[in-house]
Structures are given as structure tokens and as C-alpha cells.
């Protein structure tokens, strides 16, 4: 019996490309190690500073990579992971999200009884998952990124498990998250069965140019992938977990969930649809349009019906997901436009195919929307976190953020109310805010793709949901504050630096969000160009 020679050739690893993930995971593990070896509990600021430094470092590395070269895709690990403008822009966004979440959480952790090192480690681990999702060029790598993001998030919510609402929120998120992951995975299996590959470029290359009869295995696979990712981004009809989970989760975590987790889900969706199965866009574009209709409508209408600010923001984040879907679904000339082959140095004889459905402008509008929306969401939930600390609940699980309790906020905290107003108006899409340009771009892309009905529906729902935001603004500026009795003495939490009675770190985070919203609102050109460059590698 001859010895079977198994030659294993390790794939070339481009460490520089993987640096952001390595920084995030390394810091998470290091922090956990130090925290468990330290003779006494680490002070909270150590964890906060570690998260901030790590998030900033990952974002800076990605920014340097962005600046250092033209944004041609740079695959590594045998094509399983690719670094291109799209992944780098999202890495910067994720880094910023980590910094802001850590800042907001710093003053909120003891209120929720959450251990700072564990919180920071889980935050960084989930961010690493999000970064992997943004650059995954293989469905299995994408799945691993999705699971690192999700599993860390289940625990992040459950860390506040002293509260029944957080336990319920974590359990619901876990069950539905696991359910949707299983759908996503089954979708991968069917696509693999149909194309013989899990590599996105490989699938794209296989499908490109092959004249095939309708392949139901592939179509069912794509549908299951859409269901799985639809759950993650909370698109209607896969949204029903979102309001409960957002409401029950600690506010800093909710902000992260609504911005970064959603952005990572959309990044994955864009890459799967436009790189792997762009050829099948005649099959998936109508589904996406249907999802966009439902998501816009349900999100806007349900947002009006809410009596709780946090829940209202949860539904509004669903309606924002609808706008991003409008951008992603605006496909022009489905499947006809040219595809191009990129032969990449260092990947000898490996041809990476990038497909195109011709919707470059539309996808860049969606990316612009995601970035603009992420900062609005992070800022809004940061405000909620600050306000929640001041509103004493009669019982732990009562609705802390009821509209009535926001009455008179403008009188008690004029600057905070002003910041919240800016963020809410931006979400409503008022001119001179980033939200306005985001909505304009998305609707323009939809009109460009001759999706007039969808564009009209998007405009109508924008007006409808503006009403929901204005309700909060009116409540804050109402002359008679009914919640005065609920106001906790501002000095209750001594020992933390404060500014005008507010925790300084949260003030930083909220200012950052407001600044980005306002600056992008006045000078949208730079971010617009960045998003156009970012999608070049996906939709040339």
C-alpha cells in the first residue's frame, strides 16, 4: 500500500490586510486575560480606554490602507477575504461605532450592572465580526463573521441580565438570530450545491456567461440567503424581533445594534448580491423591491403608533433599513452590463470575477445612507442612554422612555435637547443634515433605475415618519414638563467627570454624532465621493 502524499500548501496571508481584525481580536483577548489575571477588578476606565484605542486604531489602519493605494480589490487567504474600498470604508465606520459605543457605555455600565472588561471584550469581538463580514469574499467566512458579531451581541445584551427586560431581549434575539443563521447557512449549502463553490467571486465567475436553464436549487439558495440577512438587518417581514430587542437591550448596546450590526448585515447583502449572484438579478431584484416596500411602510406607520421613544426609534431604524434596501434594489439593466475580470498579483492563475448589475450609483447611495444613518442612530441612542440615567423608573421594567417623560427636557437640559433635535430632524431628512442627502441620493438612484413607484413610496414614508420624530421634539419642548418629579438629582453619580451635569464621555459621543450629521449635511460631497469609490470594486 503506497503512502498517499498529501501536499498541503498554506495559502499566502497578507497580514497588513488583516491588521484591523487582528487588532480588534487581540485587544479583546488581551483585555480578558488581564482582567481575569488581575488581583482585583480593573477600574472601568481601563476597559473604556482599551476599546476606544482599539476601535480608533482599527479605523486608522483602514484609513491608511485606503489612502495608500487605489482601491483595487486585494484578496488574501486564497481569495476568502478581500480588502477593497467597500470593506475599508465599513471598517472605518465600525471603528467609529466602537469608539462611540465605548464612550456612551462608560457612564452607563454600572447602571446596568455590566462588568466593564467583559463589555469591552465582547464589543471588540463583535466589531471584529462586523469587519470580517464587510470584507468576506467567501460565504463561509461571511457566516463566521456573522456569527462572531451575533454571538457577541447576544452576550452583550445578556450582560445586563439583572433586568428582566434585558433577559427577555437577549433570549428573543438569540432564538431569532440562531433561526436566521440556520436559514442563511442552508442558503449557503444550496448555492454550494448549485455552483460547486462558496467563494463569492467563484460563484460569480461560474454563473457569468453560462447559459443555463432556470436553476431552482440556486434560486431557493439565494432566497434563503436573503431571508437570513433580512433577519439581521430587520427588513419587514423579518423585523418582528427588532422592537422588543432594541427596547430591552441597554441603550448603548441598542445604538450599536441599530447602527453597526445593521451596516454589517447590509454590507454582506450588497457583496453577496452584487459579487456572487449579480447574474441572477432578475430573480432577486423584485424580491428586494418587495422587501423595500414593506419595510418602508411598516417602519414608518408603526413608528407613529409608539408611545415609547426607544421603541419609536426601533421602528424608525426599520424604516431606515427600507431606504437602504431602496438603494440596493435600484438595479439598472439587470444582468446585461459588462463584467470585468481582475487578475490579481499574488493570486497566481486565480481569476477573480467581479459582477455588475449596473447599479453602481444606487449601491453607493445605499452606502452613503448607511454611514449617515449609523452616526444618527449612535447619537440618538446615546441621548437615550443619558436621559434614561436621569429618569428614575417607578419599577425597573416600566417603560423608561415613555413620551410623557420627555416632557420639559428642553428646559432641564437645553443643549441635550437641542442635540437630540438635530439628530431626530436628520433622521426625518430635513435639509442641512446628512439624513437629507442620504434620502435624496437613495431616491435619485431609485428614479434613475425607473423605480418611480418605489421612489414615491419612499418620499411619502419619509414624510410620515417625520411626524413620529416631530412628536418627540414637540414633547421635549412642551412648556409643561410632567416628568419633573422623576428627575434624579444630577449629582447622584459622583466620581465621574461631568459637563453641565451630564457624563462627559457621553457628551463627547453625542457631540461627535451631531458634528458628523451637521458637517455631512452641509458638505456632503466628500462622503459621497468616498462611497462612490468604495463601491467601485463591487459594482464597477
Amino acid at each position: 500500500m503506497g503512502q498517499v502524499e498529501i501536499a498541503f500548501e498554506a495559502p499566502a496571508v497578507d497580514w497588513w490586510v488583516l491588521t484591523p481584525q487582528i487588532i480588534l481580536v487581540g485587544a479583546a483577548l488581551g483585555l480578558l486575560l488581564v482582567a481575569s489575571l488581575a488581583p482585583r477588578a480593573l477600574p472601568g476606565w481601563v476597559s473604556t480606554i482599551t476599546s476606544i484605542a482599539t476601535g480608533a486604531a482599527a479605523a486608522i489602519v483602514a484609513a491608511v490602507q485606503w489612502a495608500a493605494r487605489d482601491l483595487a480589490p486585494r484578496p488574501t487567504l486564497n481569495g476568502a477575504f478581500v480588502s477593497d474600498g467597500f470593506s475599508l470604508l465599513l471598517t472605518v465606520l465600525v471603528g467609529a461605532g466602537v469608539v462611540m459605543t465605548a464612550l456612551v457605555a462608560h457612564s452607563a455600565l454600572d447602571r446596568y450592572d455590566m462588568a466593564p472588561p467583559e463589555f469591552a471584550a465582547l464589543l471588540l469581538a463583535s466589531a471584529a465580526g462586523a469587519v470580517v463580514m464587510a470584507g468576506a469574499n467567501d460565504l463561509i467566512v461571511l457566516f463566521l463573521g456573522l456569527e462572531s458579531l451575533s454571538i457577541a451581541l447576544y452576550v452583550l445584551i445578556a450582560l445586563a441580565g439583572r433586568r428582566a427586560s434585558a433577559r427577555e431581549s437577549a433570549m428573543k434575539y438569540f432564538v431569532l438570530g440562531a433561526f436566521s443563521s440556520a436559514f442563511f447557512l442552508y442558503g449557503i449549502a444550496l448555492v454550494y450545491g448549485s455552483t460547486g463553490s462558496t467563494n463569492l467571486s467563484g460563484i460569480g465567475g461560474f454563473l457569468f456567461g453560462s447559459i443555463r436553464e432556470t436553476d431552482y436549487l440556486l434560486l431557493v439558495g439565494i432566497a434563503l440567503l436573503l431571508v437570513g440577512l433580512g433577519f439581521k438587518v430587520a427588513a419587514v417581514p423579518f423585523h418582528f424581533w427588532a422592537p422588543d430587542v432594541y427596547e430591552g437591550a441597554p441603550s448603548p448596546v441598542t445604538g450599536y445594534l441599530a447602527s453597526i450590526a445593521k451596516a454589517a448585515g447590509f454590507a454582506a447583502l450588497a457583496r453577496v448580491l452584487y459579487v456572487a449572484v449579480a447574474e441572477q438579478s432578475t430573480a432577486w431584484a423584485p424580491i428586494l423591491v418587495g422587501l423595500a416596500f414593506a419595510t418602508l411602510g411598516v417602519g414608518a406607520v408603526m413608528a407613529i403608533c409608539q408611545n415609547d421613544v426607544k421603541r419609536m426609534l426601533a421602528y424608525s431604524s426599520i424604516s431606515h433599513a427600507g431606504f437602504v434596501l431602496v438603494g440596493l434594489s435600484a438595479v439598472v439593466g439587470s444582468g446585461e452590463s459588462a463584467q470585468w475580470l481582475v487578475r490579481v498579483a499574488g493570486e497566481a492563475s486565480r481569476v477573480v470575477t467581479y459582477g455588475s448589475a449596473g447599479g453602481g450609483d444606487a449601491v453607493s447611495a445605499a452606502v452613503f445612507y448607511l454611514v449617515a444613518y449609523s452616526f444618527m442612530a449612535l447619537g440618538s441612542f446615546a441621548v437615550l442612554s443619558v436621559v434614561g440615567a436621569e429618569l428614575r423608573s417607578p419599577e425597573p421594567d416600566a417603560s423608561t422612555h415613555a413620551f410623557s417623560r420627555y416632557g420639559g427636557l428642553a428646559r432641564r437640559r437645553p443643549v441635550l435637547a437641542l442635540a437630540f433635535t438635530v439628530l431626530l430632524l436628520a433622521q426625518a431628512g430635513i435639509p442641512f443634515t446628512s439624513g437629507f442627502w442620504a434620502k435624496v441620493e437613495v431616491i435619485r438612484a431609485s428614479i434613475g433605475a425607473e423605480g418611480y413607484v418605489l421612489a414615491a413610496v419612499a418620499m411619502v414614508t419619509a414624510v410620515v415618519s417625520a411626524f413620529a420624530y416631530l412628536r418627540v421634539v414637540l414633547a421635549m419642548y412642551a412648556p409643561e414638563g410632567s416628568a419633573d418629579g422623576d428627575l434624579r438629582a444630577p449629582a447622584a453619580r459622583a466620581g465621574r467627570p461631568r459637563w453641565g451635569g451630564l457624563p462627559l464621555t457621553s457628551v463627547f459621543a453625542i457631540s461627535l454624532a451631531v458634528a458628523v450629521t451637521a458637517v455631512v449635511g452641509v458638505f456632503p460631497q466628500t462622503l459621497l465621493e468616498w462611497s462612490r469609490e468604495a463601491v467601485l470594486s463591487i459594482v464597477p
Binding site: 457566516f143 454571538i151 445578556a158 427586560s165 433577559r167 437577549a170 433570549m171 432564538v175 449549502a189 460547486g196
Partner: protein, 104 residues
Amino acid sequence: MSGLEVTTGWYLTLGAMLFLIGGTGLLVRRNPLIMLMCVELMLNGVNLSFIAFADRFGDVHGHTVVLFVLVVAAAEVVVGLGLVVAVLRASPRATADDLSALKG
């Protein structure tokens, strides 16, 4: 050999059935532990499909995928069991229907 020949299609059907049984169970059963088991059943249905496809293609890739999925499933169960314990410790005999304080 006479009679039935077991082809890839059989395994795929079995995988799909396991997935469906798991999915239905997750939606129907209210005991948190059983729901966790249903998730596992769904994932194992997918694993079987992966192996069946890999066998058909004679491709090792599908087999390696299963190893990744097993690891992820294990991690998911660790977190899931932790959550179930946290919920049950707070209110023994809780079912999924009892987790309904948040609504609107």
C-alpha cells in the same frame, strides 16, 4: 445489488426534512431547551446537505465547511444554554410565552 440505490438526493431530502422539523419545532415548542435542540437539528440538517453535495462533487471543501459549522454551533449552544439558565433561574418553569413583557 438490487432494489433501492441510495443516491445523493436521498441525503439532501433527509437534510431538508431535518431542517424543516427543526424549524417547525423552534416555532411550535415553547420550552427554551427544546427550542435550543431544534436549532441544532436545523444546523445538522444543513451539515448533511453540505456533505451530500461535497460527496457528489468529490470536493473536500464541503466537508471542511461542516467542521466550521460544528464549531459555530457549539459556541451558539454555550451562549444559548447560558441564556436559558439565566432566564430559568429568574423564573423557574418559564416558557417562551412568559417572555412577553416587551410589546407594542
